[in-house]
């Protein structure tokens, strides 16, 4: 891409914005729908963008993998990224991550939206961290809603020094009144 502004609506910029937030590779049909432009145009724009990033020697790269497009770090800088990941102070979980992990541990199998409801905040980022760190994994899906259910991993048990989930200390002593809890939970579930 040159430094010249593009003519017409900024298709490339719109694609850049969407691709910045996507986690999984996104196919061209989906992208075309989102930006409301013909697929061929979108494909051309993506190819141009990728070529431009390479030509400009950017630290990121736009690649078509498994039928979809996604930002990747450029190979040339893999060493630096590896150093960052290895040395980063990421060994400890944040308080938010710990609390979310606790909810998953005691409520599993549980959907992401259930966890979010209990925590009263969006938990997407934190759940991703827990998945990446191998503490939480997918455990099938809810037969009714079809929502993906999550549970803790054996790695989680190891890190906590437990043999099985049965060894998790009972929750009861830490809850005000279990009866109220269950009622409230049911209400929330159905709401």
């Amino acid at each position: 891409m040159s430094a010249q502004p593009e003519p017409g609506p900024p298709l490339r910029a719109a694609l850049e914005a969407v691709l910045l937030v996507v986690d999984e590779p996104v196919d061209e049909v989906t992208l075309a729908q989102v930006v409301e432009r013909p697929r061929a145009e979108v494909t051309a724009a993506l190819t141009d963008l990728a070529a431009a990033y390479t030509k400009e020697g950017r630290g990121f790269d736009l690649r078509r993998v498994a039928g979809g497009w996604r930002f990747h770090t450029r190979e040339d800088y893999a060493d630096i990224v590896e150093r960052f990941v290895r040395d980063g102070q990421q060994a400890r979980l944040t308080q938010a991550a710990l609390e979310t992990l606790a909810v998953v541990a005691y409520r599993q199998p549980v959907s992401r939206s259930r966890v979010a409801a209990v925590r009263a905040v969006n938990v997407d980022g934190v759940m991703r961290t827990l998945l990446t760190r191998g503490l939480v994994e997918e455990k099938g899906s809810d037969p009714q809603s079809g929502a993906v259910l999550f549970g803790t991993t054996s790695h989680f048990l190891e890190r906590l020094g437990l043999d099985s989930l049965d060894d998790l200390p009972p929750l009861a002593p830490h809850l005000p009144t279990v009866d109220t809890m269950d009622t409230m939970d049911d209400e929330r579930e159905s709401s």
């Binding site: 910045l20 937030v21 996507v22 986690d23 990747h72 770090t73 893999a78 990224v81 590896e82 990941v85 290895r86 980063g88 990421q90 060994a91 400890r92 979980l93 710990l98 609390e99 979310t100 606790a102 909810v103 541990a105 005691y106 409520r107 209990v118 925590r119 009263a120 997407d124 980022g125 991703r128 998945l131 990446t132 760190r133 191998g134 503490l135 890190r159 906590l160 020094g161 437990l162 060894d167 998790l168 200390p169 009972p170 929750l171 002593p173 830490h174 809850l175 005000p176 109220t180 809890m181 409230m184």
Partner: protein, 264 residues
């Protein structure tokens, strides 16, 4: 906050001022209008009329804001109306300070309301920018240092308990109006015992040991009950003077039975 936003488009019509309510507040804040000149009852009447006019469009938020501001104005006015004159002793100074504190509170409230509006604007703006939060590419994810769970199973359970505990539903706290239960019947028994022994006593003496106003009130009500039952008679020489209470009942009266009304 824009002028006029505080109480919607509520306008006041007063002898000293006609215009948006918010502007009235601003003028008082800038010392351009004396709060004592403002007929707050008229402002309140107008506001109620304004709310009625809107019929079903009743806006609780607007009404609440009006109440907060009106209450502060009322405080302010009360302070302004206190005899001012020359500042010649400590008490006068205290009055002045109280008055200025009220004034400061009003200004402060306005200021925080205004920045709260800025906050809302910034949040709305910021919510249109999305951050990148994606899973690490697998090649990097495997390099992540081993997670350290800095807590043990018991702490983990406690954490879960806190996270899962039902969030208390919002309630209006009545703690500040809590009053201990006082029973009029019990107080009647107490009084009967005292009066049987003393024959005659002043109301002051009969309530000497009361540590709360509520208890004094209960004793008074109990006396009325005793009077109704013909167990006591009253005697008061001057209006607002000392109240003499005489025991005229039998010795058995009100030993145990008495009208059973409990003040809650």
């Amino acid at each position: 906050m824009k002028v006029g936003e505080l109480a919607g488009d509520f306008h006041v019509e007063l002898d000293v001022f006609a215009g948006p309510f918010e502007l009235l507040l601003g003028l008082i804040a800038k010392h351009e209008l004396d709060v004592t000149e403002v007929a707050l009852s008229k402002v309140s009447d107008d506001f109620i009329a304004h709310i009625r006019e809107r019929g079903r469009e009743w806006d609780l938020g607007q009404a609440t804001q009006f109440l907060v501001v009106a209450a502060t104005l009322l405080d302010l006015k009360a302070a302004r109306l206190l005899p001012a004159g020359m500042v010649d002793d400590e008490e006068d100074l205290a009055v002045l300070e109280a008055r200025d504190l009220l004034f400061a509170r009003l200004l402060q409230y306005r200021a925080y309301k205004e920045v709260a509006a800025l906050f809302a604007g910034r949040m709305a703006e910021e919510s249109r920018r999305h951050v990148r939060t994606v899973t690490l590419e697998p090649r990097f994810a495997q390099l992540l240092p081993e997670v350290v769970l800095s807590i043990g199973p018991l702490e983990f359970a406690a954490l879960a308990g806190r996270a899962l505990a039902p969030k208390p539903a919002p309630t209006v706290s009545l703690a500040h109006v809590y009053a201990p239960q006082v029973s009029v019947r019990e107080q009647a028994v107490v009084l009967a015992a005292l009066l049987r022994r003393a024959g005659t006593a002043t109301f002051r003496a009969l309530t000497d040991d009361c540590d709360t106003t509520l208890l004094v009130v209960a004793r008074f009500l109990a006396l009325l009950d005793l009077y109704r039952d013909g167990a006591v008679s009253f005697n008061q020489v001057d209006p607002l003077g000392e109240l003499q209470v005489h025991w005229v009942g039998t010795s058995a009266d009100h030993a145990i039975s008495a009208p059973a009304e409990a003040l809650a």
